[in-house]
Symmetry: C2
Subunit: 361 residues, 2 copies
DNA sequence: CTGTTAGCGCATTCAC
DNA sequence: GTGAATGCGCTAACAG
């Protein structure tokens, strides 16, 4: 039943401080035009009464909205690497909140809907910039955003057409390290159970997988793509392992696929790592908790998030202009039991840097 | 280098349609005062030019901001049941996006900062309502929000003081089912490794744990609280199992704790479920993927999210007023190997409803 | 049914 | 240094 006090306006503050609205505005925005002491007085009054500028009014007069948009176009089912995403968002917030930026979040179910959201956000002046995730093959979003003139940064770029700045992730080197690891532990035939090839980063990984295997001189290297679902991963695993000359090591794109794959491996009566070694491209709790613990690529989702947010802030500040991309550091491969088999103890070369192996297959 | 067209205003649309600004406003807002055919024409023009009202301008003239706020006050470390939270948010979005509502997200590191965020959002008119999560003991937030006059709904209430509507979760019945399950499989001494007692729902579970154990007549029932960290869960597990008369079943509050606990159990040379049975209060991929698979409480985080969002929409609509709380349905206990021991095959009673057991301990 | 007018809360020209 | 006047884009009173 409390009568809520009517919202306090700048005018009220000015009145209470005994100055003009203009003076109050200048003072509260740190602009010249007021004496130091009246400025102090005005600030004190505002502080005392807990005044806060009306956001809409500021935006209407041309101020930034102090809001960053993020839209996620994944079906509820495959919010897939949930863990990765949550940590990524936490990383984003770690720098955004420090800068007083808010995060406007939207989940949609198609790229078209996503672009429409950008359009509306832009026309309605709701966000200053957006963060683009899950870049796809022939993705229309970077161009759409660039055409809109909406500041943005791609998490996981680079932008194929180079119109948007990005924080890039090197998928090549990690894959190389995985293959190298498998090669040195004696594998000759390896397979990669990846996510949908619609995702740009997946295609990069596939290329790197084949390329790396050829460089190392591995006779067998197979790729089976999935739709990121557990069932498709199980199916892919079954197909790979039921062939006559089956691979001895499997690389999975995330924990969902790995868990499903491991289940299928056992159902086929095979053991890990004795019969088949397993590596997963994401080090979540699940990787270390499973039996056996899974060798995993330890990507730092939090750091990735904060780097992306940092890059975006730089873009908005006008700093780091020139569209320069930032590169994310290469993650370590965390070796665990799932890939400890030592089939053919090979001599480990002094430096695994430039391996000019002979191509095979 | 493209010269971005200046933003289209209502006035422009009116001009293009050859009508007054008022007429256009009425037409575009579905208000009476325009003939059907001119309304059509105006809508057509707006559509054709992709006009979208300036959000700030609408809000400034009293419109709702169409935005729901969510602030999360957890340290980056224990974004704990990440999985649960992500699915919860997806559930929220499933109804919010359908209603054209946006989600403004903020992560802070203290309850004070959270309240301050609410205050600023409210004063700045940034959100129409907020969703309150992780209710604590003696939580100042419900009162703060009620005093602010900010519409809100508590996810996981009820509000102890009854000032805010809530979607309530019954922790008592699930705990009862767990204890019952353990009792019927022959356990006489059980323990509960819970999260921090600062969380209101944890205190409810603790009460239910002791109450249920007494009702069932279990001689032993112990509780060890943790700070939701893996290390504290390991420590709690060690303490519980190194006592002379150690419990034969452990209940963990989430997957992080369970995984840490399981590791410790093995380090102590004990086997699951032979020596110790394990139950986890959250059915994530990890529960079913572990060896052995974990008996788990299958809460539906997505449904919870959509229910909360639905309740909030009802509040905003003025529907379902009277602060009525909505109750979330009770989750099933998914029995898996980790609790299959059958120590003392007891006769299962016809109905496990009203067990007036003799209190013990 | 249409056009005129004023005002939401703030920033920013200008003269004073 | 200060105060009055305008406008951001839109809605909602008015009269015509």
């Amino acid at each position: 039943m409390s009568d809520r006090p009517p919202r306090l306006t700048l005018r009220d503050i000015a009145g209470l401080a005994g100055v003009s609205e203009t003076a109050a505005s200048f003072a509260l925005n740190g602009k010249p035009g007021v004496s130091a002491k009246t400025r102090q007085r005005i600030l004190a009054v505002a502080e005392e009464h807990g005044w806060e500028p009306h956001h809409a009014a500021k935006v209407l007069t041309g101020a930034k909205s102090q809001t960053v948009g993020l839209v996620i176009a994944r079906s509820a089912r495959d919010v897939g690497s949930e863990s990765f995403f949550m940590r990524f968002m936490t990383g984003l917030q770690s720098v955004l909140s420090k800068r007083g930026q808010s995060l406007l979040l939207q989940m949609v179910d198609s790229v078209e809907a996503e672009i429409d959201t950008y359009r509306r956000w832009h026309l309605a002046n709701r966000v200053d910039a957006v963060i683009l995730v899950d870049l796809r093959v022939d993705d229309p979003r970077p161009d759409a955003l660039a055409d809109l003139g909406m500041p943005a940064v791609i998490a996981g770029g680079p932008d194929p057409r180079g119109r948007l700045p990005a924080v890039t992730i090197d998928d090549r080197e990690p894959m190389r390290r995985i293959i190298e690891h498998l090669h040195f532990t004696g594998h000759e035939s390896v397979a990669y159970v990846c996510g949908t090839g619609e995702m740009l980063h997946i295609t990069r990984r596939i290329d790197a997988f084949h390329g790396g295997a050829r460089e190392m001189g591995l006779p067998g290297h197979f790729v089976m793509s999935t739709d990121f679902s557990a069932s498709s991963a199980a199916r892919a695993t079954r197909l790979l392992l039921s062939s006559g000359d089956r691979p001895t090591a499997l690389v999975y794109d995330n924990e969902i696929l790995a868990v499903a794959g491991l289940g299928e491996i056992r159902r086929l009566g095979l053991a890990v790592p004795a019969d088949v070694c397993v590596v997963v491209w994401e080090d979540t709790l699940i990787a270390s908790a499973m039996e056996p613990p899974l060798t995993a690529l330890g990507r730092d989702a939090f750091a990735f998030g904060s780097d992306v947010a940092g890059r975006l802030m730089a873009t908005l500040d006008g700093t780091a202009e020139g569209m320069g991309d930032t590169a994310e550091s290469v993650p370590e491969l965390i070796e665990r039991s799932s890939s400890r088999c030592d089939r053919v103890p090979l001599a480990r070369p002094s430096s695994g840097a430039a391996g000019n192996g002979t191509a095979a297959r």
